[in-house]
C-alpha cells in the first residue's frame, strides 16, 4: 500500500532557528513530490520535486529529493512567526492513473 510519512509530527522553535522537515515515501511508480504550507485555510503550493539532488529554493525555504533513499527534506532558515503552519508532503503516484498521496503533515510553531 502506498504511504507517505512525515516527521516530526510537530515542532516548536524560536524565531531565527533553522528547521528541517522530513518526508519519506513508499509508492508505486513515483512521479513527483510536492510540499505545501497550510495555515488556517487551504494548502498553498511551495515546491514540486521530480529529480534527485536538485535543490529547489524560494527565499528562506529550500527542498531536495533523494529518489534512491525515498525521502525529501524541507529546510526553513531564519524562521519567522509567519512560518507557523502545517507543512504537508504529497507524493504523486502513477499506477494506471496519477494521484497524490498526502502525509499527515508537520505542525511547526515559531515563537517570537
Amino acid at each position: 500500500e502506498d504511504k507517505v510519512v512525515q516527521s516530526p509530527l510537530s515542532l516548536v522553535v524560536h524565531e531565527g532557528d533553522t528547521v528541517t522537515l522530513n518526508c519519506s515515501y513508499e509508492v508505486t511508480n513515483f512521479r513527483s513530490l510536492l510540499w505545501y504550507k497550510q495555515e488556517k485555510k487551504a494548502p498553498t503550493f511551495l515546491f514540486m520535486l521530480t529529480s534527485s539532488g536538485i535543490e529547489k529554493k524560494s527565499g528562506r525555504l529550500s527542498s531536495i529529493l533523494d529518489k534512491k533513499e525515498l525521502f525529501s527534506i524541507l529546510n526553513i532558515t531564519a524562521t519567522q512567526t509567519g512560518d507557523s503552519a502545517v507543512y504537508l508532503c504529497a507524493v504523486e503516484s502513477g499506477a494506471g492513473t496519477y494521484k497524490y498521496i498526502f502525509g499527515t503533515g508537520t505542525r511547526l510553531k515559531v515563537l517570537a
Binding site: R31, S32, A42, P43, T44, T50, A90, T97, Y98, G103
Partner: protein, 115 residues
C-alpha cells in the same frame, strides 16, 4: 488569474441530512480533485476527474457520497445521508493536466460539521 472557488465555506447539518458542495476550478484546468481532510490529518483523495471523466474514486464511500463534473468544468460533491464521521474540511483542487505532471492548486475548502 482566479483561483479555485468553492462554496459554501461552512455548513452545519444534522446526521442523516444531505449536503452538496460546489467547486469551480482554475480556468483551463483539466484535472479536478475532491479531498476530505479530517482535523489533524492530511487530505485524503475522494475522487479525481480528468475533464468530465472519473479517473479515480477508489476511496469514495459510494453508498453515501457522489460527485459529478458534467461539462468538464465545475463539479459538485454530495453526501446523502451524512454521518457524524463526515465532519471534515472538503477541499477541491485542480491542475492543468495531471497526465502532463502539473502541480495542483487548492480552493479555500468547505468546513462541514455534522451534529
Amino acid at each position: 488569474e482566479a483561483g479555485v472557488a468553492q462554496s459554501p465555506r461552512y455548513k452545519i447539518i444534522e446526521k442523516r441530512q444531505s449536503v452538496a458542495f460546489w467547486c469551480n476550478p482554475i480556468s483551463g484546468h483539466a484535472t479536478l480533485y475532491w479531498y476530505q481532510q479530517i482535523l489533524g490529518q492530511g487530505p485524503k483523495l475522494l475522487i479525481q476527474f480528468q475533464n468530465n471523466g472519473v479517473v479515480d474514486d477508489s476511496q469514495l464511500p459510494k453508498d453515501r457520497f457522489s460527485a459529478e463534473r458534467l461539462k468538464g468544468v465545475d463539479s459538485t460533491l454530495k453526501i446523502q445521508p451524512a454521518k457524524l464521521e463526515d465532519s471534515a474540511v472538503y477541499l477541491c483542487a485542480s491542475s492543468l493536466d495531471i497526465l502532463l505532471g502539473y502541480e495542483q492548486y487548492f480552493g479555500p475548502g468547505t468546513r462541514l460539521t455534522v451534529t
